[in-house]
Symmetry: C2
Subunit: 269 residues, 2 copies
DNA sequence: CGGTGAATTGAGGTACGTCAAATTGAGTGG
DNA sequence: CCACTCAATTTGACGTACCTCAATTCACCG
């Protein structure tokens, strides 16, 4: 299974795996890094731990997750080679990071030093800012997914998302580093539903499976339009969509606006 | 309806509404800003427009949203006074911003200048980075919400989230700037379900309504544990949760790890 | 007082979650 | 090499929470 990473337009720095769209981090930042490996199943850190480092995943896979009050795991992000993570607005992490595959390795950037470097080095600051903006974009895109979609759409979009990640998808051949359970926790569905969706996609000829982890996308259009049937209903009721476009709300608007205006004046005085 | 914003620990710069947790932006950045107002229902910008500015909402309310292929609107974020937005990793916006209430006003920061300033001024860079990290935290928190929760939980969490926003909630009294439709599009539910959930919360004594926009939280604990009943089932099956904790996956792991190692060697050579 | 859109309430269908069983497939020991 | 084990995945059956469609009530406004 020889794999070529060079399919993208981005050039890799020697010695660095370089999968993320925005390419390598500045040398000055990399000089801070220490390397570490971790084993499957072990958390790199837990929610509530001190957020004293940033990290970058080098090889393998991990996920950012929370354990909800009902004992379930919600995966908020898969971390793949090249991903920078561990950012935290507060002093303590809000999420845990769990290793998904053996042989996963990280670079660790001491937060204080990295932030000092970001203050001193505009290139570093810019790189980190770009990564953060990217994260925001990805998270927002995922939110759209989680929100308004049925099972088939979610799984289809998930596969397409993975196909965009150089470390998972080479062309239309994917090697998924995560289990069905992890996919389920990522998409907020039951494992069984994930499995059924995959079966359906297979039956539709959109994908083929070499084994449960190796997926080949055979019909991209089918994936992209996975839910054409389920969407048909809404085309019958376009009034619903337009009906949801916000209209002027006079009473509340004015009271809300004046409330804001009041505070504005208050501060100006 | 006099409203005091000064409840937080953050001090406001004269003339600026200052609700966001991280306080005001550096003066040097504010000097770039131009002000603009907009009317309800009009988009500030649309998905696909050139992302040539960052924005900060001053008064009123707006939302970041996408129109999905089936004609629905998915709201990925509510924008309230103090919020900085319009960040974009690419050159074009991926989301539209729609005004929700009349009298909404923005500060606009030309992107090129702001980025140049961020490169030159570490304080600006740090402030923006902090805001971005915060956005990431909020988005991740919302993802947890969108994922694993029933209708009652979603609406309860939404109300608690709004109660955290100084421009919406003063103590436990909320004035929601958005309609039920917008709440529905935010939580990815049907309006009817939102309405029913609110009715249920009212019946449970967790909230009272002065009118449909003015909500008083009368029992925070009830909101925080809104779903105690619906969660009970999972306590009966803790094995499920532990069963989902990832275990070693030897075959795929090794192939995946060696794949990564191969690319690593490749780049090092 | 009628008009209008927002919000609520009601009734019914369905996609997905849950529980349970069958199947696959890799690792292990004889 | 083959039986056995154990976990991952798939398949099946069934109940229910939510979505859809429809009707009603509510709040504001001319």
């Amino acid at each position: 299974m020889a794999v070529s990473i060079s399919k993208g337009t981005h050039r890799a720095a020697a010695g660095w795996i370089d999968c993320a769209p925005l390419g390598r981090l500045p040398e000055t930042l990399e000089l801070l890094a220490t390397r570490a490996g971790a084993e499957t199943g072990k958390p790199l850190y837990n929610a509530g731990d001190a957020a004293d480092s940033w990290y970058r995943l080098l090889t393998g896979a991990a996920c950012e997750c929370v354990l909800t009050a009902d004992g379930r795991r919600q995966i908020v992000n898969f971390l793949l080679p090249g991903d920078l993570f561990g950012f935290c607005a507060r002093s303590r992490h809000e999420f845990s990071v769990e290793i998904i595959v053996d042989g996963t390795a990280f670079a660790r950037y001491p937060r204080r030093q990295a932030e000092e470097l970001a203050s001193a080095d505009a290139e570093v600051a810019s790189a980190i800012r770009q990564r953060a903006f990217e994260s925001i974009s990805r998270l927002q895109a995922r939110m759209v997914l989680l929100g308004r979609t049925n099972a088939l759409e979610k799984v289809s979009a998930f596969l397409l998302e993975m196909a965009e990640r150089p470390s998972v998808g080479i062309g239309d051949d994917l090697v998924l580093p995560m289990s069905r359970y992890e996919i389920a926790d990522y998409l907020a569905m039951a494992v069984e539903t994930v499995s059924r969706a995959i079966t359906t996609l297979k039956a539709q000829g959109a994908i083929t499976l070499a084994n449960s982890r190796q997926v080949r996308i055979t019909d991209r259009l089918a994936l992209e339009h996975a839910s054409a049937e389920s969407r048909r209903r809404s085309s019958l009721a376009p009034t619903d969509a337009s009906g949801r476009v916000s209209r002027t709300v006079k009473l509340y608007t004015s009271s809300f606006a004046s409330q804001e205006r009041a505070t504005s004046v208050r501060h100006a005085g």
